[in-house]
Symmetry: D2
Amino acid sequence: MIVVMRSDCKDQDVEAVLQRIQEAGLSGHLSRGEERTVIGVVGQVFPELRGMLETLPGVDEVVRISRPFKLSGREFHPDDTVIEVGGVRIGDGNVVVMAGPCSVESEEQTLTTARAVKAAGAQILRGGAFKPRTSPYTFRGLGVEGLKILAKAREETGLPVITELMSIQDLEVVLEYADIIQLGARNMQNFTLLDEMGKVNKPVMLKRGLSATVEEWLLAAEYILSQGNHNVILCERGIRTYETYTRNTMDVSAIPLVKRLSHLPVIGDPSHGTGKWYLVAPLAAAAVAAGADGLMVEVHPNPDHALSDGAQSLTPENFGVLMQRARAIAEATGRGISPQPAAAASR
Amino acid sequence: MIVVMRSDCKDQDVEAVLQRIQEAGLSGHLSRGEERTVIGVVGQVFPELRGMLETLPGVDEVVRISRPFKLSGREFHPDDTVIEVGGVRIGDGNVVVMAGPCSVESEEQTLTTARAVKAAGAQILRGGAFKPRTSPYTFRGLGVEGLKILAKAREETGLPVITELMSIQDLEVVLEYADIIQLGARNMQNFTLLDEMGKVNKPVMLKRGLSATVEEWLLAAEYILSQGNHNVILCERGIRTYETYTRNTMDVSAIPLVKRLSHLPVIGDPSHGTGKWYLVAPLAAAAVAAGADGLMVEVHPNPDHALSDGAQSLTPENFGVLMQRARAIAEATGRGISPQPAAAASR
Amino acid sequence: MIVVMRSDCKDQDVEAVLQRIQEAGLSGHLSRGEERTVIGVVGQVFPELRGMLETLPGVDEVVRISRPFKLSGREFHPDDTVIEVGGVRIGDGNVVVMAGPCSVESEEQTLTTARAVKAAGAQILRGGAFKPRTSPYTFRGLGVEGLKILAKAREETGLPVITELMSIQDLEVVLEYADIIQLGARNMQNFTLLDEMGKVNKPVMLKRGLSATVEEWLLAAEYILSQGNHNVILCERGIRTYETYTRNTMDVSAIPLVKRLSHLPVIGDPSHGTGKWYLVAPLAAAAVAAGADGLMVEVHPNPDHALSDGAQSLTPENFGVLMQRARAIAEATGRGISPQPAAAASR
Amino acid sequence: MIVVMRSDCKDQDVEAVLQRIQEAGLSGHLSRGEERTVIGVVGQVFPELRGMLETLPGVDEVVRISRPFKLSGREFHPDDTVIEVGGVRIGDGNVVVMAGPCSVESEEQTLTTARAVKAAGAQILRGGAFKPRTSPYTFRGLGVEGLKILAKAREETGLPVITELMSIQDLEVVLEYADIIQLGARNMQNFTLLDEMGKVNKPVMLKRGLSATVEEWLLAAEYILSQGNHNVILCERGIRTYETYTRNTMDVSAIPLVKRLSHLPVIGDPSHGTGKWYLVAPLAAAAVAAGADGLMVEVHPNPDHALSDGAQSLTPENFGVLMQRARAIAEATGRGISPQPAAAASR
């Protein structure tokens, strides 16, 4: 931590900063330069110190010099994390595709979709049973019944299932049915859920918050890792900007950036990232080209009847086209689409 | 709801839209203009229809024409909501001041602060026992012990207490000690918590999410109102923008805007809104001038020792200056600072 | 400037940074801490160095420790700049009000408005003759004819005139008619215009760019100041955010922040800041409460016939109400509305 | 245009809106629905009408139903625009690569870079002679001397040259030397320059403004097109968001979106889009995968000595790697890298 003093600060201001640092059990290293006087803090710095020092007279700003994410960062964990679930490896260089309906609406809709995405080459089935919705007056999911339908679809197709957990109250039942637990963008900083996710023995996919910085996102992952669960997958799903043509602005650059900063696998979600079905395939291609470890895509047999996210759902046909393009791009960059799980092959 | 067709749409596209509308039990009203062909949807429109229609060929966009917030909106509830708690009226035209430490750190720190804010004229004591923190490695609050300290401070000062609830697991204990329950910005779309807040018999203060639109904020309030709790207070606490000098950008315009759209009281939080102690008083003044029903301000006896939010905490002295300015501005606009509760006066 | 090395950097990386610094005629001061190795750059640092050093292996980030705005900053110029124009003092503690139509549309419209704003207490007349418009198909102003109408209005009312300059081609004619030259938000980084504004002998009002940081804004002012024109007024007019209810988000906190960082006067423009006529008066009040040196407000005799910015224009009646509120708030904070120029009084 | 009335509007409000529409020479078509009363405006609507109607009592909002960009839109110009310059075709399906130094710093630096980018397969040489810089204290380009160096590099390599025009004063000399004129992000709404660009007989590349919406960007192109120059190239170069790890957030989704809305070619600039050299290649790959018609990339023989944008400049070696990846991805999507101009081949 470095304290930058104002150029008009007084000697007693500098003295007071040094004293406050000492009082905290650390030592200050003073350096008077042509530009400014700066004080380096030496010792085991604790994060709260920054706000404390910023309140002192004569201080211009306090600059942090270490990355606050220790377990999710690559500095002390240079090798990529590879997560295995239901016979699928996530983060091993190949591209894993998670696809399925936004919401589980019925057994027929879910099974139809599951068969279609399996046929097109997906490895994992997605589907929402508990749905976070902006308005209380919209469809909020089938709940446990939805989880059972997902399990049936897994049974039939052999594809492992990823589904969202919204509340600690549903933890047990979601753990019973899900292979991967998804934390949605609105819950990225639900610290109670994050703590609990650190204690379960299933992989967790953590979506980036609507306006989360990359650092906040990695710190949210840090909550889970620091409780002992190391199987965390990150998912870029678009951030909020001033642009209104698209639902969100998919931050494709976050994919290679996070892969540089962290060892965790990163998935791209072009469905939420764009909110428009006709932009999903190009952005899926972009995510793969930028190095994503996988894709999450919403598919619905009849988007014009979807109870949620119709505008961004692909028909099975369009999903097939997306898969071909994703495969070609993965191969162009020396990678491939992940093999489907053996369980799927045997059915 | 109005469907705007592309100018190069085909007759069969228009036909398909009309059919889909009919299938939904509604009727479409076609209008071919010089600019575009538009189709008005007539009947009891449901919100999911928009995404469904947007997927049809030839559709350019689907425009919603009604406000989705019914109970929080002013259209069907023109009179201001006034909330009474512990002898304090919120939303009656006067300005209510909620002040206290960011975190409850100790009995002494809390009591010292409580006495100081009471002496300066505050009506309500704030203090965090459960703290949402970006990093898992920072101070996360004293929990139940913190609640007890707050209760003691209420006992001594007569000021009702507002404190944050982060998780449904803590609901019972927070209900036991708090007079007003605060939902923080990161939980504005924690729909499980929102649903529960609709069932409690205490007022709830709902902070605006970090990047929530005004509409999303009112829809979050709608969750609570639609479950039966009508005592909802809104709190503008700054939104996320590209500017980094301030912690957030306090959207002062949201205060008069929300008062126009909604009947609920609106509080301004210049501490989180700016993140810099030297901007708190000017923005508190601005919030009152713009019509806020109250202020929420962080005060700490020694900001350079605060375990959270030191940089934005006021000393008791600076808080006294803020109160004077707020009072002068309230009076200049024909209002006043709310009287302190009788319970406080008697101590 | 401080170079923060990655924790996994090699000795030769550190060596290379030190060498590059020396090659630039400066010296590096190495400090190996528990957190990180950092290198302080000692000597007359030049701004380009930052980008250069960031490219070297092992470097995590390069932190600037001095403020890049020297002439506009308060560090070396602690006293407020006060600007006199046509008998009006801007920045002396009182609140100056600039009001008038968005566009000069006709002599009658302009004179009617000028009389009304003078009667309500404004000191300066605003009006656009050259209009920057998002679409080429909208009204782009009367040009020189508009300037002549403004001069006529000044003649009759005694109010000095502020009007926008869009292009260097119009410099001479605008200089002939304007008392204050306005640079619009879209031209805040039109560096050619900024350079020219540094050479004219009239005050310049520099609006904050649509997404300019406070630092970029002060650096734009620096362009003008560094060419010799010290009469620069800053104007906060709202920034672009994700919120769409308002045209822009007026960053009220920028007013006290800039007054702390800089000695230049700061004006608030709630008309562009909000884009909705019903939010103009509350935000004008907020700007004054937060310490603005003045206001700029759009007024039109018939907003429903305004050729530009109708939705944010006040009627003369509503402007009168705004003036009363602004005056009351200015007085509540120990200030006042500026006196009108003597030239106005004598008419 | 559709006027949506408030649900509590009065009959006389509706009447007044209808009258105002008639007064404008248009007719209103009233429709009272269960949700709201709406009024469709029939006839040749002019854009200013929207703001006018929004000021009337009882009006909730006015919704535009036509796209305001006529000439740049695809609705009336379904076929892709292909632009030929110096033997290079832009927009014909293949990927054109423009590469070179951010600033022309010297003949040697420019020629070295030009040879390197030609050798790696680029078609067009980029280089800045007039540089827009945030601070007045940084290197602002060599001006005319820089243009002459670019011409020399073209002479030697056969690659056509793209360079930025910042001011109308430099128009003649830039026209003399440049093959494509670049308008930078900060000048996207410099309407004077846009008008002039409409009159020149050279292609113009229009970069997206720092916080421009896609609609504003197409309207800026509309300025040029409406003056008669149809050779406009669009360039996505990142937008401003709250994320600070990257210089800007490259909006990759804007590439396929603009290609859907418009017939103009779209280039991606990952150098400015990310601001970090190590993110340039992945985002270049993403842009090609998403359908970009080309790339613009900054290359410098010694990024740690670059007088501008060092941190985002590639070494020639890294540029070579980028080209290989871009080519593989272009081919994976059934396209290719454009052939180099014959003039280049013959040297």
